[in-house]
């Protein structure tokens, strides 16, 4: 796989997934 494509894909995937988990965790933690 093309290196720049791989870097962009993994960056976007990580960013979106981490933010999703962060927001959901924050929501669940909130009383």
């Amino acid at each position: 796989m093309n290196t720049s494509a791989l870097i962009i894909m993994l960056t976007v995937w990580s960013l979106v997934t981490i933010l999703t988990i962060y927001f959901i965790a924050k929501l669940l933690k909130k009383k």
Partner: protein, 539 residues
């Protein structure tokens, strides 16, 4: 107006229901096709920019309007918009919500019913041993009222009625006992099925069960950056359209669900959470499953040709059952059930949301019981949906998708943004959005909502209205402007390839009828309100 005391059972239930509203066919079928049609990597940058500048701001606007309206007893847009705009005209403009939701639900339910049919045929093994052309024939015969390929007469009508009845039944169960239950079980299951399918797709290797390429070559195509695309308006239009479709903005469904939250509930965190759940599902799973499996078995050039010739939602139904067979009898059946099961969950969580605004309106303004309101909504979808079933091949389905599912939502979203930013006031609106919020969102969004989002929406709307042939915008300086058949004006003037048929004209009359009925319902509700107000004054 009545205060039917309904609410969500839990915050996670609300977030999953709202995510279910957003996660739909657009995530798994439309996104990969849009990406392929717009040059793969060329699409992703404008898509992400549109998510931040258009998608998120509109989600914030709709959540705010929803909670604001709910506190005043309005769980649908017409009277909430009137109170926000302080002018009667807004109540009728708010009626566009019924036009878009019922108009889209009318063809969406039919699309959803395909997944039920394909699930059924995957389980009983109908597709086993069928060639690619036979699978395509199956799809074509499915919509043909005069013939059947499965031995079940009028199978498409039966599946549509079953699907509609299921939706109405769940709607009658209410928010907590119906929609929330479906979302609580459905969305986690959808994510598990999606992860399974995505991994299976990426793992495909050439030579394995007839594959011609690595599955990940599809990802390579989707993610290779093409910076010149940033200057192509056609790609921007497609990216903006996808963001609208995927986040389910411009419908009134977000407002309806948000109107049932408590007045002191944090909506900022919920709005970003649901948007990001949707984006994860779309970018990570939706961008992987269809592309990797199709590229693995057909090769990138064949997939590009297939999308160019077929396009639309039907492509997965015409190819996937054939490809899944290659995995073997048991694995193939399991994968096929997983794929169509995933699509069914994605579809039903969205169609339930589309039925909700009108149900709430009938409860609020006409004091209907939930059951009766749901039955009326079901009847409306049946009346307006049957033409898409009976005349699918004649283009009625596409006509609904275009006017209600594309132009309608764009127009309604533009109206809402103007109301929020310039009539109600962006400062007040932003303050209202952040009320009771634990999360601190960057203030820059206030300015984006006020200036950038409306300008982008209006620009895109004008561009879509007069788009030149083939999306070639260089005619601006070269001259020789010719309208594209898919532009709004081009469709109005009958420049498209399928514009002249009596069925597309019929579809337009039906949609016009739907709009008229929406406005009429609001007018009658207004009269009732005035009468009851007069009676109270006399007393």
């Amino acid at each position: 107006m009545t205060d039917h005391s309904e609410g969500w059972g839990s915050k996670i239930g609300l977030v999953l229901a709202m995510a279910g509203n957003a996660v739909g066919f657009g995530n798994f079928l439309r996104f990969p096709i849009q990406a392929i049609q717009n040059g793969g990597g060329a699409f992703i940058i404008p898509y992400l920019v549109c998510f931040v500048l258009l998608g998120l701001p509109l989600v914030f606007v709709e959540w705010t309007m929803g909670r604001w309206g709910g506190q005043r007893g309005h769980h649908s847009t017409p009277f909430a918009m009137e109170k926000m705009g302080k002018k009667k005209i807004w109540r009728y403009l708010g009626g566009f919500s019924f036009f878009t939701t019922i108009g889209i639900a009318s063809y969406y339910c039919y699309l959803e019913s395909w997944t039920i049919t394909y699930l059924y045929h995957s389980i009983i093994g109908t597709f086993r041993g069928m060639s690619q052309s036979e699978i395509t024939l199956f799809f074509n015969h499915y919509h043909d009222m005069s013939s059947t390929h499965s031995g079940i007469p009028y199978e498409n009508v039966i599946a549509f009625l079953f699907c509609l009845a299921l939706n109405v039944w769940i709607l009658t169960r209410g928010l907590k006992g119906g929609i929330e239950v479906v979302a609580k079980y459905g969305i986690p299951l959808l994510i598990i099925l999606g992860i399974f399918l995505a991994i299976r797709g990426v793992m495909i290797q050439p030579g394995e069960v007839g594959a011609v390429a690595y599955g990940y070559e599809g990802l390579n195509f989707l993610w290779t950056p093409q910076y010149d695309s940033l200057l192509n308006p056609k790609v921007w239009l497609a990216a903006a359209g996808q963001i609208f479709f995927t986040l389910s903005v411009g419908l009134g469904t977000v407002q309806c669900y948000a109107s049932y939250v408590r007045s002191n509930e944090d909506i900022a965190l919920k709005a970003v959470s649901t948007s990001f759940v949707n984006e994860s599902v779309e970018i990570v799973l939706g961008g992987t499953i269809l592309i990797s499996i199709a590229v693995g078995f057909f090769g990138i050039d064949a997939v590009r040709d297939l999308v160019a010739n077929e396009g639309g939602f039907g492509i997965a139904f015409q190819t996937m059952p054939f490809l899944f067979q290659k995995f073997g009898t048991v694995a193939g059946t399991f994968t096929s059930v997983a794929f169509f099961g995933l699509l069914f969950i994605a579809g039903i969580t969205s169609s339930l949301a589309m039925g909700s605004p009108l149900v709430s309106f009938l409860q609020d303004e006409f004091q209907f019981k939930k059951r009766n309101a749901s039955l009326i909504v079901g009847a409306a979808i049946l009346i307006f949906g049957l033409p898409t079933v009976l005349f699918f091949k004649e283009g009625v389905f596409d006509e609904y998708d275009y006017w209600a599912g594309t132009v309608g939502i764009f127009f309604f979203a533009t109206l809402q943004t103007i109301l929020f930013s310039w009539v109600y006031g962006a400062d007040r609106g932003w303050k209202e959005f952040n009320r009771a919020a634990e999360i601190k969102l960057p203030n820059i969004f206030k300015y984006i909502i006020k200036y950038i989002t409306p300008v982008m929406l209006i620009t895109i709307f004008i561009a879509a209205f007069i788009q030149p042939a083939g999306g070639d915008w260089s005619v601006i300086w070269k001259g020789g402007w010719e309208l594209d058949g898919s532009s709004v004006l081009g469709r109005m003037l009958g420049k498209g390839s399928r514009e002249t048929g009596i069925y597309t004209t019929l579809a337009r009359y039906f949609l016009l009828g739907l709009l008229t009925l929406s406005i009429l319902a609001i007018y009658i509700a207004s009269r009732r309100k005035e009468k009851s107000k007069n009676l109270k004054t006399r007393k």
